[in-house]
């Protein structure tokens, strides 16, 4: 009697287990359908995000601070013309020589980004003789592997796409600003017209159609190198970039694992 009861119970468990297993794909399909319904990425039909893994490399030494990338981004993505909203921008770092008698290898650091570098940079006030070195650093969404902004969004309006982009669904964003606070790189802002969070999408509407992001397209010095980790060739510019440079990410201590890689940046760059 006991054994039959036990067998019956076992069969019951097995049956329910199989039932759950069978329901799993259906649940997954339902989740993906809901997700598709609730989020809009702007990708064309037929684009398979699982077949790509986008990344960006920045060769800082090549940047001349012309601001074309910032301008192109503003135009392409209809970003507000105000000097307080940028999906990408350029920072100018100016490191002075140490003062006479100062026991240091480098002096004061000045950083600026007038109008995000869109109009280029005005001549610096610091006399040339006092400058140790100066360089430009283009900034954009860091495409974090563990994106704190997506983690923080209370409704899932910000989400990581399988191909590595981090997008915002403006139709679903409630405009709480938590993602803006959570981004360590200052890459997000509240769109003053739509009152929703906005950020660099890697020009998702372009890259899903086989084009490069606008900032990459217009860069005259090939500072920005755009690549697809899942479709790398031996002579891919990304491969060469990694081979030829010491590669860094910004704020690595935060564990966000950015997929925007910088070559040869100084420790002053944050």
């Amino acid at each position: 009697m006991n054994s039959s009861c036990s067998r019956r119970r076992w069969l019951g468990w097995l049956g329910s287990g199989l039932g759950w297993l069978a329901a799993l794909p259906a649940a997954k399909a339902a989740k993906s359908t809901v997700k598709n319904l609730l989020t809009s990425s702007g990708a064309p039909k037929g684009y398979d995000p699982t077949k790509h893994q986008w990344l960006m490399c920045i060769d800082v030494d090549r940047c001349i601070g012309c601001g074309l990338c910032v301008d192109a981004c503003k135009i392409e993505n209809k970003v507000s013309a105000s000097p307080h909203y940028f999906r990408t921008w350029i920072e100018r770092y100016l490191i002075r020589k140490p003062k006479p008698g100062q026991l240091a290898l480098r002096g004061e650091v000045t950083v600026d980004s007038p109008n995000g570098g869109r109009d280029g940079f005005p001549p610096t006030l610091v006399p040339k003789s006092e400058i140790l070195k100066a360089f430009y650093v283009p900034k954009l969404c860091n495409l974090c592997e563990h994106s704190p902004c997506s983690q923080a969004c209370p409704v899932g309006a910000t989400f990581d796409t399988p191909d590595g982009a981090v997008l915002v669904d403006p139709e679903y964003c409630i405009g709480c600003g938590f993602c803006i606070q959570a981004c360590p790189y200052g890459c997000r802002f509240m769109n003053p017209d739509t009152h929703t969070a906005e950020k660099c999408t890697l020009c998702y509407h372009r890259i899903t159609r086989g084009l490069k992001p606008a900032c990459v397209e217009v860069c005259p010095t090939q500072t920005r190198i755009f690549g697809d980790l899942k479709n790398m060739t031996e002579k891919d510019p990304v491969q060469e970039f990694i081979r030829n440079n010491k590669v860094f990410t910004l704020k690595p201590n935060l564990g966000t694992e950015p997929r925007v890689l910088y070559a040869n940046i100084d420790k002053e760059v944050r």
């Binding site: 600026d112 109009d119 900034k139 923080a152 209370p154 964003c173 405009g175 200052g186």
Partner: protein
């Protein structure tokens, strides 16, 4: 280009005039303003007032029985207003229900709706109903007109006032309070976690943040009860219960001491570990937050009340009653202002420096507008108006002659 040259020749940096040093272009304006300052302040008052009430039920502090109902009603009045600043600050308030319909479970903010609903429905309203049911039945029979009808309605049809039924109410009420304490901790610890979880911001991203928020909430809640209890008695021309006030003063002092110690520990840890953010944080505290943090929060809102309340603990017998009353009242006001400034320093202070750790921006307080003075002031006054209404309906002077409810006395027996 020419304008930049002109600025450069004038010796002005190319940064915007309200930015000192360098800030990322997107972070030159403070995003979270007065409404997000008020939100943790109000929830803190709720949690603190509830914990104050629970001292009577769970910890059997009989001296506090006169403020039991007052504390619960205060908590409810403020809790009703708690979501308002959050709702008003949203870019799309009409989408607010999405937080509950499709919560993103990795976000601490997504939990707000659930924590709030749990706290108001499962804890506060239930506790109040159990506390008041007996009176609702009695008042429903004696009060005429609309007010009587309201009391009868609020019994929800449960009109059994037999000793067994009341005993059951008592038992259930104690259980609800017992659940309520961790819930109050959850309500406000969670608010602290919203800030503490942001690792991008060294001013916020701190494991002690939820603990600091909980203790400052307790302190502000008790201070609020002292303030309202004193005001109510003054307004109704009634003597305050000095034993009760002394007891509240005692709890206020020890809670403030604990709060001060934990915040001190936080600073000690920051200064000792001295990570890369310490320079900018020190500049922040000594510069932009000098008035609100060092003068307002630390000196006026913490050290002076500590000294005043401490004196009542050490020299209680020597200090005349009327002086003690004024000390409690004055300390409570200072503490409430100090905790409000603490919220200001956390919320606004955390946005005044750039995440590049290279500069500061300036906060401009609007008068009107969505996040202006006027809206802020309205939200600060509204809970008091609601409380005034509650006191008229649920703590009417004629039923409040003895100054305490039946419930806590029953439980205390």
């Amino acid at each position: 280009m020419n304008s930049f040259l002109f600025l450069a020749q004038l010796g002005v940096e190319t940064a915007a005039p309200h930015v000192e040093g360098f800030a990322y272009p997107n972070e030159q304006h403070v995003l979270w303003s007065i409404l997000i300052v008020i939100y943790p302040y109000i929830t803190g008052l709720v949690a603190g007032a509830f914990i104050m009430a629970s001292l009577v039920k769970v910890f059997n502090v009989r001296a506090l029985a006169p403020v039991y109902r007052l504390a619960l009603l205060t908590a409810l009045a403020f809790l009703i207003c708690a979501p308002m600043p959050l709702l008003l600050h949203l870019g799309h308030p009409e989408r607010c229900l999405q937080v509950m319909m499709t919560p993103h479970l990795s976000s601490p903010m997504a939990m707000f709706g659930f924590v709030y609903a749990w706290y108001i429905m499962a804890v506060l309203l239930l506790e109040l109903w159990l506390e008041y049911r007996h009176d609702f039945v009695r008042w429903g029979q004696t009060e005429p007109g609309l007010q009587g009808a309201l009391y009868r309605l609020l019994t929800l049809g449960a009109r059994d006032v037999s000793p067994e039924a009341l005993k059951f109410d008592e038992k259930l009420s104690s259980i609800v309070t017992l659940i309520g304490i961790p819930s109050a901790f959850l309500l406000h610890g969670y608010v602290g976690f919203i800030f503490g979880s942001i690792k991008a911001n060294p001013w916020w991203g701190n494991v002690l943040m939820p603990v600091i928020f909980i203790f400052s909430a307790i302190v502000s809640g008790i201070a609020l009860c002292v303030f309202i209890y004193t005001e109510l008695n003054w307004f109704r021309g009634r003597e305050v219960d000095d034993e009760c006030l002394d007891e509240m003063g005692k709890f206020l002092f020890y809670a403030l001491l604990l709060d001060f110690s934990i915040e001190g520990l936080d600073w000690l840890h920051r200064l000792y570990s001295a990570d890369e953010s310490i320079h900018v944080l020190k500049q922040l505290a000594a510069g932009k937050l000098f008035n609100t943090m060092l003068v307002g929060q630390l000196f006026c809102g913490t050290l002076i009340p500590l000294l005043l309340l401490g004196s009542t603990q050490v020299f209680r017998q020597q200090i005349p009653r009327f002086v003690r009353r004024r000390i409690y009242y004055f300390s409570a006001l200072l503490i409430m202002a100090g905790v409000l400034l603490m919220r200001w320093n956390v919320v606004i202070g955390g946005q005044l420096f750039s995440k590049s750790l290279r500069g500061f921006t300036t906060f401009k307080f609007e008068l009107a507008g969505q996040e202006g003075w006027l809206v802020g002031l309205t939200l600060m006054v509204l809970p008091y108006l609601i409380l005034w209404l509650f006191l008229r309906v649920f703590l009417p002077a004629k039923y409040d002659k003895v100054g305490h409810s039946q419930g806590p006395l029953h439980s205390a027996v």
